[in-house]
Amino acid sequence: MKTDCDLLIVGGGLTGLVAAWRAQREGLKTVVVAQGPGSLPFTSGALDLLAVYPTEAKRYRESPWEALSELIETEPEHPYGRVGLRGARAAVEDFLLYLEAGPLAYYRRGEENMAIVTGAGTIKPTYAVSVSMKKNRLAWSRRRPALILGFEGLYEFSPEQVVCNLQDRWGGLKAARLDRSVLLDGDRRLTVTQLAFEFERPEFRDRFAGAVKPLLGQSRFLGLPAVLGFDRVAAVCRDLEERLGVGVFEIPLLTPSLPGMRLAALLKRDLVEAGVDFRQGAPVSRLDEKGGHVSAAYRTGKSREERILAEYVLVATGRFFGGGLEADRQGVREMLLDLQVEAPGDRDNWHMASFLGAPGHPINRVGVKVDSMLRPVGPGGVPVYDNVFVAGAVLAGHDWVREKSGAGISVVTGYAAVDSVLAARARAGGGV
């Protein structure tokens, strides 16, 4: 089987999805090859842009844009440095307008970062959140009386943990748990997805509201773990608010994380509707390359091999977790094209002596080095392919977990890579 496309995107994480969505809109015939579900289901679904800079000082920044300007100035090899402030702003603005208008109704607080409560009872800075977490920010910033509610048997969330960690700064905060026998029969262990299915059913919400109402007391808000349904979360929140007469919000958890899954599902649906050829399952098994040019990629299915002829290729394969990079005892490799990656010395130097300390583990800054067009470079900074671009976490020079910049790097470099493809195409005389 043979497919022709303008742009082949390897990777179905946030970067690949964002780039595909934009490329298709710009008229490029786009194919996405995704090996697995991507890393989004493991994230909070909140869009972090840049909240800690410099990471050495763990300095929290109210204004991500101010921090971004400084970062671009001092770290030109950072993905943001490669794209520049103007490109970053345009990408974030465009992508957020799309998310704000969509069913997840993303919300931001002007040009500033916001703070939300997490399931660990910590306060996390971020730039934009889906509608279900809008009142999370509101309740915390105004310290309004709130009930944090958990479920017996849902071990991913302890309302007492949230309340104990925040009560010295938030009076009127209280914790309660719903006995699961009020809600369901069966095993005592509850899962996030099980609850999400239940919350999509009106009968369940009715029973739930009946059980919660007597617990609310003076609370003006009700905080719940992020289990309020799948794509209908906005309607579920609204319905609960009407039934209970208080503001309802979600609190992000560790995996599995519904807000991340919802964002992934939304993007996939929209880009497939827009005409993107999205192929999940078998990864790219090999490529045709000659003289610094990649002409085709192959996927090996159960019985046959698929050949995808592509004019341009975008590498958005992620880091170690996504499978874009792999390490063995000797070093680090980029897995698709064996692009140049330098490990930070021998293995003793890959990580710091402290897991959570500043500034972050040296291995996290390892990745693919690129030029200002996001083309992978070899020794001397010279591009090694004329039609390959790289975006997202696999890029060198950033530490998104410490900077709190994960989604931002995906969006900004995803957009920039498509811009580079368009520019290269225009130069080559290919019209759109």
């Binding site: 703070a115 306060i123 560790l254 005892r329």
Partner: protein
Amino acid sequence: MRIETQVLVIGGGVTGAGILRDLAMRGIHAVLLERRDLNAGASGANHGLLHSGGRYVVADPASARECARENEVLKRIASGCVEDTGGLFVALEEDKDEYIVDFISAAARTGVSVEQADLKELREEEPFLQPRVKAAFRVPDASMNPFLTTEANLEAARRLGARVFFYTQVTSMQRDRKRIARVDAIQAKTGEAVEVFADQVVSAAGPWVDQIGALAGADLRIAYSKGSLLITNSRLVNRVINRLRPPSDGDIVVPGETVTITGTNSIRVEHLDHLRTSASEVDRLVEEASRMVPALETARFIRAYAGVRPLVLADRDEPDRKISRAFTVFDHEKDGLENLVSIAGGKLTTYRLMAEKAVDLVSRRLGVDEPCRTAEIPLPGSGEGRALDTSQRLERLRVPPPGGEVLCECEMVGRQQIEEIVAELRKNGHPIDPNAIRLRSRLGMGSCQGGFCGYRTIGYLYERGLVSSKKGNEMLADFLEKRWNGIKPMLWGEQLRQEQLLEAIYCGSLNIDGSL
């Protein structure tokens, strides 16, 4: 707090626990102080191997004899802590034939049971074993859980009235001429001072035995030899596999419950704290062990840990591998101290015998005439009879907790088990934190190394009101950092992926590294 007792035992490793039990069984009132939690030193950082003695037959026949005897005793009295896997000594093509000959004759002299194995049968029994083995011998090695063993000894002693204080560090000793008149300690978690008045003091402080001795003015000559071990996330061998050559690095592979433990090496260190295993040590251990079990080369290693062997020095210049692994009971009367006994050296296999010898001396001094009966009476949780075999143990591990209430998915630790452990800890006045629970279960021992189950456990402690304010989150960060020391040297391949996920969750999603 003021404590009066006949005997104070210092050190909560397996030897101290064994001593406490032996004392209690002879009707002697005893109290044990441990500066951290159980098995904080070498007792918690070894292969978990119940030696047949085969390892020592050539170079250290006295140790070999002791091991052979204790192997039989412990399979009887500690059957609940022992998995009777059996063991093998295998000679690879590059190993010297002369050593094989020496091994067989030395085994006969020391009473270590050795039986030549049929190589064809062996390939079926141990499919991951290197196929190019030129000779193999069966020995009665077994796998032994040192945490269960220490716990069972302490529990036996408690039932007879002995008392155990964890997180209680001895800080000084007051001497009155030839006697230690008073031992001062401090409780780390509360800051409370503890004064102990004991007729006799037994120091089973492992590699810290010289520091404890120094508090009383006793001079002990101990060398510190660090040994590192590596754990995989799966069980690759059915039996203990030993390399049939003079003791060297990476020549023992031990199956322990659901994992495989490989090691060890021997590196002199000057300090006992902040032990680390370097990448080059890891590489050497993996390479060496892979010669016997090639699948180890690509196995998923989840953790490295290091313990310090206290080596009793006769001569400072002796090479460490040659220093006897036998133990020494120091009768400090010749140093002018009538009521201190120190014990050092030895190994997990001989802990009971070490305890017996130390308590024999203490009993003589106290004028107590009771014989040692620790070799006859089983430990709590260990019925009469043979140790459990592999299939029985695995069956026990595979039973899912009731109601599907799993807190630790890697190791199938249920909420009910945690509840029981917490109740036990509370009863004994022990501080409750994820680390204390980990030491008494298998929580956090699997692939995630506590990343997911540690979080759930903290949630549970909050739910039960066992922690409040920000204490639980501090405990979680502390737990993750403590686990990190053993995780860091093993971060490549799948384990690096796992670490990146956890870091993304803790720092990315939850911002636990810098909550606003």
